[in-house]
Amino acid sequence: MDISSLGGDFLGIIPLGDIVLYLTPFHLFMCVVMLLFTFLICISKTETQVEASFGKLEDTKVSVGLNEFKQRRFLSIICGIATAGAMITGDLFNFTLFMALIGIVNIGIVSAVKQTSVLNAAYQYGLIAMMCSLPLFGGAAIILASTGTLSLFELSNLATTSAMTVFGALLLLIGILGESGVAPFFATKAEMFRTPGSPFLVIIHLSSLFVVIRAIEILLIIIKVI
């Protein structure tokens, strides 16, 4: 199968040692959007969240402290760069590494918040992310064992898909869904968004959605149904 039938015309590669980044209009779009959001995070301040007070006719204003702001901004930038890398990598192993990094920094972004409900949500998300790192890397390992390569270029040129490769791809999908915290693991993750810090929360959500879209492309490359 031709990679260009998924993401559009092949534009070229960026060889960085054994890390081969490749570009199609799809990858370029995803990478540029991620870097744009990362830049906006670098230059933006946080909002002040207005909440209703219980039993009083007053509003409670919740804002982000300076130390917390610095920590969360740093982790958000790392998350943005990791997601941009995951968008253009041509190697399945690098993709899983970027994915694991995204999961770790996502937990870090909210664990700096001093709110019990948010920390509980982050803790539960962390448990899911840790458990899902096994199928994530295990899936990639099974694909390597059954095909002999983790290069997406090479995988796209394979004529058929063995049952073991399909099994590896399904494990990879479970790993990605858990690490990114999307359905069916989204319930705890949504609770994490109740805290202030809009620029940092957006990168958690954006990285999850973009990684899932990239994962769909990778799975379509690996599994040859047609």
Partner: protein, 286 residues
């Protein structure tokens, strides 16, 4: 035709067409509910009016994202016009554009500091978890046609007939997605009336103008995509008829259905996505 001229004409057509369709949507809903309703052109006039209104910035807002997120929304749907009608590029990019659309709902709500926007922001995370599986219809289309290029899918349908006859449940999934994005939809939990206008509550002036401009284009492009992906190569007349038909049907459904609560909305969408994905795979295998 010159590419830039082509893009400009398509963006203007999408904006005008989308505005009139949304105006028609509102008019039909009003008539079903025995109200006279505003003129069909009212949505377009509102969109233009907001560009000349005073813009305010809440004291609690995160200014960079409060302003830039609206510009990003306009930018991505302009990209949608380029990837869709102009170049007929990859469906995966349209998927990416839809994901950014969900991000805009999320960030526009949270960046203002308003409690209504914040609740809308949290609901946007829930709704993304149910809408993204619906957009996974692109994988089913790929399994059927062997390509995710819109031009390739059009070509496939010109040879093998419209996809709505071969993978109808995938068409249902995409239609539910369209219904979700239509105004006053039973699935529109991010803009529920208990949240005033949800993530749009705090945006006024030219920011609201950009927002309405983008939503017009979004409705036009989503309708165009549905017709193109499932009804094959169509002439301009059939596109117009199809878009009006989609608008009428969604208006009828929205006028007669209450807004679902967030849990019911998410579970119903996920159930529909699951049933349609499994059903389509069984149909393809059989």
């Amino acid at each position: 035709m010159n590419l830039m001229a082509n893009i400009l004409i398509n963006v203007i057509t999408s904006f005008l067409g989308g505005s009139l369709l949304l105006g028609l949507h509102r008019k039909i809903m009003a008539r079903i509910q025995l109200r006279p309703g505003p003129p069909i052109i009212q949505y377009l006039l509102h969109s233009l009016k907001f560009f000349f209104k005073e813009t305010s910035l809440p004291k609690t807002a995160s200014p960079v994202f409060y302003i830039s997120i609206v510009c990003i929304l306009a930018g991505i749907w302009t990209t949608g016009v380029i990837v869709g009608p102009v170049t007929q590029g990859s469906l995966l990019i349209m998927f990416g554009i839809y994901a950014v659309y969900k991000i805009v709902e999320h960030n526009m709500g949270s960046s203002s500091g308003s409690p209504y926007g914040k609740l809308s922001c949290v609901r946007a995370v829930f709704s993304a978890a149910s809408e993204i599986p619906l957009f996974a219809v692109v994988a089913l289309i790929f399994f059927q046609t062997g390509t995710l290029s819109i031009a390739g899918i059009i070509h496939y349908q010109s040879v093998n007939g419209p996809l709505i006859f071969t993978i109808p449940l995938a068409g249902v999934m995409f239609f539910i997605l369209l219904l979700t994005k239509s105004p006053y939809s039973p699935f529109a939990i991010t803009k529920g009336k208990e949240l005033i206008s949800g993530y749009e509550t705090e945006h006024f002036g030219f920011l609201r103008g950009f927002l309405m401009f983008s939503e017009s284009i979004a409705w036009f492009i989503m309708s165009w995509l549905f017709l193109t992906l499932f009804f094959g190569p169509l002439s301009v007349v059939y596109y117009v008829i199809g878009m009006i038909a989609i608008t009428v049907v969604t208006a009828f459904i929205n006028a007669t259905s209450p807004l679902l609560n967030p849990n019911h909305s998410v579970m119903l969408q996920i159930t529909i996505a699951f049933v349609c994905i499994v059903g389509t795979i069984i149909m393809m295998v059989v």
